[in-house]
């Protein structure tokens, strides 16, 4: 990956994979409710993909320098193996962990690369994933840990 | 007791019907005298009241107990505070609420200040009725300084709405004592001036001595109370005979006279003003500065007073002022009757005393009886 476009293509591809992951999970879900949830996760990923596409077309810029709060919720939660009868809590944990992994990936890449433009791009993508993670963390905090 | 008026044949041409009022010079408020005169002499007098009738007793029956508190003071315009106090007292008696000591002192202060203001108004009236306009100018101005004190203490000049069932509405303002003492000193100085100018005035003496003599036996027959009664030689004063508020802790003299004419009545009132100033000074000194001034009250919005009836009276400037209240345990009062001393003074007594006097003296006679029509009609 040597150009900004290539990086973006890679990122877009990753978002697509995530969307596919959730929708295939949804296909297997038995209850109306979890199916709905997983599809909405999938749509969320598709929206991210759309956002990256517009970055690629130059309609939008990724900001690398903004501060995104890390609630560290996912840090101390266990890993979950996604199954067809997954619960909402577990689905959210999976989502948080996935976003966190993506964040780590882009951050590591940014560290290993020297080209300032590309570095900037990776950092921007990392920030973007951090935001997604925050979104899921907040939902976990609000929906699952209501009383804690 | 009741003497029928002599038959007056208007068509004889000897008599003239003359109406005085309702804008009557002898009175605060409106009231008409229907005089039948023969020459200058009055042979028959009928009173006509009702120009100020607002139906208070009816209005009070359809207002809650707290809603009655602002309206009662309107019953007697120049002396509203007595209504406030009596209404509060009658409700307190029926509910068993006791107003705190501090409130009792402030109430006494308020009532005596009102008495002084009311007497000053009256003093101006009697001066004006006998051609001494200067006295009127002096006393009404000084009354205004007392109204200033009221404004400062209660928030209004005339309708104070300060004595609320359960206590009073606020503490005395800062520095009130000094300002009140200052006004009292000025009023006292004025009173000595008035004595020289009015009571030592030979014109005044000539016209008032022997005018409207109330014979002692008439006092009970006509239900005469207050200074009018004391001027006839009776030593009766509710403040001493049935002490309310803190009057049992105050030093004052019951002023009496024996002549029982307009001059004697005026002189009794004049001296009572001095007694009033004496009491006010005691009040200012002894009113507690600390402590509650309102008893613990229920929620006044739906205040149900237990069923019962009572009569509470107080000595106002004109005599026995009383509130008779009947309650039936609901949020509304069953019946209130306000007993104003003017009721008998201005109607039965006036109709009797006016006969035989002349037209020029009716105004002075009426002022000397000190009557307020609003408390007759309510």
């Amino acid at each position: 990956m040597n150009t900004v476009d290539e990086i973006l293509d890679f990122a877009i591809e990753r978002e697509q994979q995530a969307a596919d992951f959730y929708s295939s999970l949804a296909d297997r879900a038995q209850s109306a409710w979890m199916k709905e949830m997983l599809l909405s996760f999938s749509q969320e990923e598709m929206r991210h993909k759309g956002k990256l596409k517009s970055v690629k077309l130059g309609d939008r810029l990724l900001k690398a320098d903004q501060h995104v709060q890390d609630l560290k919720v996912s840090d101390y939660l266990v890993d979950i193996e996604p199954t067809a009868d997954i619960s909402l809590q577990d689905a959210l944990i999976v989502a948080m962990k996935r976003e966190k992994a993506a964040y780590r990936l882009y951050s590591d890449m940014a560290r290993t690369i020297d080209d300032p433009e590309l570095k900037q791009m990776f950092l921007g993508l990392a920030q973007e994933e951090a935001k997604h993670k925050l979104y899921f963390e907040v939902q976990y905090d609000d929906q699952i840990m209501r009383d804690n | 007791m009741f003497e029928p008026t002599p038959q007056v044949d208007l068509s004889s041409g000897k008599y003239l019907k003359l109406w005085q009022g309702p804008q009557h010079p002898g009175i605060t408020g409106n009231m008409a005298l229907e005089l039948t005169t023969m020459g200058d002499e009055i042979v028959d007098c009928k009173t006509h009241v009702g120009y100020l009738h607002r139906g208070f007793e009816k209005l009070m029956e359809r207002r809650t107990f707290i809603q009655n508190f602002p309206i009662v003071c309107r019953i007697a315009v120049p002396e509203p505070t007595f209504n406030e106090y009596l209404y509060a007292a009658v409700v307190e008696e029926l509910t068993g609420i006791e107003s705190p000591e501090r409130a009792e002192w402030i109430r006494t202060l308020n009532l005596e200040l009102m008495r002084l203001a009311s007497y000053l108004m009256w003093l101006g009236g009697i001066g004006a009725a006998f051609g001494q306009g200067t006295v009127y100018q002096w006393t009404v101005t000084h009354r205004d300084y007392i109204l200033d004190l009221f404004e400062e203490m209660t928030g209004a000049r005339v309708y104070h709405m300060y004595i609320v069932p359960g206590g009073v509405r606020g503490r005395l303002p800062e520095g009130f004592e000094e300002r009140c003492n200052d006004v009292l000193n000025r009023v006292e100085k004025l009173l000595f001036d008035v004595e020289k100018v009015l009571f030592n005035n030979f014109v005044f003496k000539k016209r008032t001595k022997g005018l409207g003599v109330i014979a002692p036996e008439m006092v009970d027959q006509y239900g005469i109370t207050g200074p009018n009664q004391r001027a006839a030689g009776f030593v009766r004063d509710l403040r001493r005979d049935a002490p309310y508020l803190v009057y049992d802790q105050l030093e004052f003299d019951v002023i009496t006279a024996t002549e029982s004419d307009a001059y004697a009545r005026s002189w009794v009132r004049y001296q009572e003003m001095h007694q009033g100033i004496r009491m006010l000074r005691q009040c200012l000194e002894r009113t507690p500065r600390e402590g509650p001034f309102q008893a613990r009250m229920p929620n006044v919005l739906h205040w149900e007073v237990p069923a019962g009836e009572t009569y509470v009276k107080a000595e106002c400037t004109r005599g026995e002022y009383g509130y008779y209240m009947v309650t039936d345990g609901s949020e509304y009062v069953r019946r209130v009757h306000v007993r104003g001393p003017s009721y008998t003074h201005a109607i039965a007594l006036m109709e009797k005393l006016a006969v035989g006097t002349n037209i020029a003296d009716t105004a002075g006679l009426m002022v000397s009886l000190h009557t307020y029509p609003p408390e007759i009609e309510r």
Binding site: - | M1, F2, P4, K46, H48, V49, G50, H53, G55, E57, K58, L59, E61, R62, E93, D220, Q221, Y222, G223, T225, F234, R236, D241, A242, G308, E309, T310, Y311, K313, E320, G322, Y324, V326, R334, R335, H337, R339, Y343, T344, I347, A348, L349, K352, E377
Partner: protein, 187 residues
């Protein structure tokens, strides 16, 4: 201080005295039948020292169909006050006049005539206007007379008013669908 009890014992044999209520040390209320009232008043005035008629008034007990006159008498020597109640038939209220005993009674009787419609035969100027002039309604102090409705009908009220109940207003604004028009639950 049982002036009142003494007194009632003294008169109790000759008069049917009932409903004695010692409201406070110097105030007692009692009831006496209509036919004995004036005789008792005279005796109280002449023999018992109750020389001062503070006032005469009436209480309307519409639900019981009676008027209760209250004669408030005061004794200056014992400083005791007596409230004498006399029940009258509300629909045909008539009472013996006492204008010959106290001069101001005539005025009170005029007022009661005008305000409640009670007749006191023989009382002077009884039917003259007292407070009211040109009154064409039932006597205003009777409980069935609605002064607010009358005032609205005759004197009108200025336009430009209108109020909302906070509770109803909030209901309309915040949860309009939550209504139970058909009776259900409870009753």
């Amino acid at each position: 201080m049982s002036t009142a009890t003494d007194l009632l014992e003294r008169f109790g044999t000759n008069y049917r005295i009932s409903e004695v209520n010692e409201q406070k040390a110097d105030l007692t209320f009692f009831k006496v039948p209509k036919d004995q009232a004036v005789r008792l008043l005279r005796e109280l005035r002449d023999d018992a020292g109750y020389t001062h008629l503070a006032f005469l008034t009436n209480i309307d007990y519409i639900e019981r169909g009676i008027f209760t006159l209250n004669y408030m008498l005061h004794n200056y020597d014992t400083r005791h006050t007596l409230g004498m109640h006399v029940d009258l038939d509300r629909d045909n209220a008539e009472m013996e006049s006492i204008h010959n005993m106290w001069a101001q009674a005539a005025t009170y009787q005029r007022e009661l005539r005008e305000m409640y419609g009670i007749r006191f035969p023989g009382s002077p100027r009884l039917d003259d206007d007292f407070c009211l002039e040109g009154w064409d309604q039932i006597p205003p102090m009777r409980k069935e007379f609605d002064t607010a409705a009358f005032s609205l009908a005759r004197f009108y009220s200025r336009d430009g008013r209108g109020t909302e109940d906070p509770r109803e207003h909030m209901k309309q604004q915040l949860y309009p669908t939550h209504t139970d028009d058909a009776p259900e639950g409870g009753n």
